[in-house]
Symmetry: C2
Subunit: 210 residues, 2 copies
DNA sequence: ACACGTCGGGACGCAACCGTACCGTCGTTG
DNA sequence: CAACGACGGTACGGTTGCGTCCCGACGTGT
């Protein structure tokens, strides 16, 4: 048996990181320009100035490639400082979201992948996880703190609260595609605070009459 | 010159409406399943049980086809009865939106086309018009009535108000893809009313200091 | 009853992309 | 210093869709 032990890959026989990142960048750009549906490996390789084989060596398929990108980007958790009040925290979050969605990259790729997720189970799962993480983070941090401070009732429905917080900004920037001036943020934040106070009435209890 | 006068098309020489609507239906289904990016005329014709030529005779290209569909669907204006209060009107609107977005057709096609609009000027324009109509209708009807009733300040920023109203439902159903129970609507509605009252403080006046 | 003219359907050439197989290159390891 | 082994690039067959052309079918108006 010559199955002794295979020497570890070395020399030129190792993936070149520069090429990998060139491909990653190309994918993002291509994703923004044509979307997942029309994304082609050929175009990615062309744009990255790299051979198709280089791509296939790293990812088995288009799906693999995109799933990997999603994990990478979605991994980062948002750092939200504690300003001492729900209103302040909210303003920060809105600014962060608005800032992110102002970039063409985000405002094009995110809606596209979300739409694709509606019909691709693999992407849906990956994205759902990332989205849930995000929402839970917002819920835990913003709402959690507010509850601790006594600004909101402990009964506050996290999911409904997150909808009220995130929905308006996303709609404005990603759907309506109208700019959200930084000057508008405080007003929107205070409006949301008012909404959350009312939503504090707790979860709906229609079928909990036992 | 034999350019006397051309007889109007007659007999079998006229578009058959049944086929036209079969194509329309096929486009909607195809759009829901694979999205605009991967929509192919061939698949549409196949699904409609019709020849490709039948499609090309009616629409010059894939873009034409979809633009036409958008106009047709977006044309209908939403009938919102006047319940006598902002809260009541809001509940109706939320129910209507939730009902619409519960259908797979809407919840898949709308986000897909919106994403596509981000990179296709033609679709963007058509969709923007439809969206603006929708938002203005919501603004005019809901907010307008509330202002007349004295429930909201006349200074209320329509755009911001619409964001607060429509954002949460859309986020919940089209992005987060979690069901919105009818029982939750009243609570969400009252939360939004609270938000609108605060937003009533009027448009941001930072640069209007003349 | 006839002729008109457009209809639907199938076939064609063209272009893009997929995924794979092969080939010469190159740097590390023994 | 020599050989190993995975690298990047080119070339290939197969598939799919686009847009067009030609054909026989068909129903109305003269």
């Amino acid at each position: 048996m010559t199955t002794e032990k295979r020497r570890a890959p070395a020399g030129a026989a190792v993936l070149r990181g520069e090429i990998t990142s060139a491909i990653r960048a190309a994918v993002m750009q291509e994703l923004a320009e044509v979307g997942y549906g029309r994304l082609s490996i050929e175009a990615v390789a062309r744009r990255a100035g790299v051979s198709k084989t280089a791509v296939y060596r790293r990812w088995r398929s288009k799906l693999d490639l995109v799933l990997d990108m999603v994990s990478a980007v979605a991994g980062r958790n948002l750092p939200l400082l504690d300003t001492g009040s729900l209103l302040g925290d909210l303003e920060i979050l809105l600014h962060v979201m608005a800032r992110a969605l102002r970039h063409r990259m985000a405002s094009q790729i995110i809606p596209d992948l979300l739409a694709e997720a509606a019909r691709n189970p693999q992407i849906a799962e990956k994205l759902q996880v990332a989205l849930d993480d995000y929402q839970q983070a917002v819920g835990r941090i913003l709402i959690g703190r507010a509850v601790e401070r006594g600004e909101l009732s402990p009964d506050t429905d996290r999911r409904a609260a997150v909808d009220l917080i995130v929905g308006p900004v996303y709609w404005r920037m990603a759907i309506s595609r109208a700019p959200l001036e930084p000057a508008e943020v405080p007003r929107m934040a205070s409006a949301i605070v008012a909404a959350l106070r009312v939503a504090c009435l707790g979860p709906v209890r229609d079928e909990v009459e036992v």
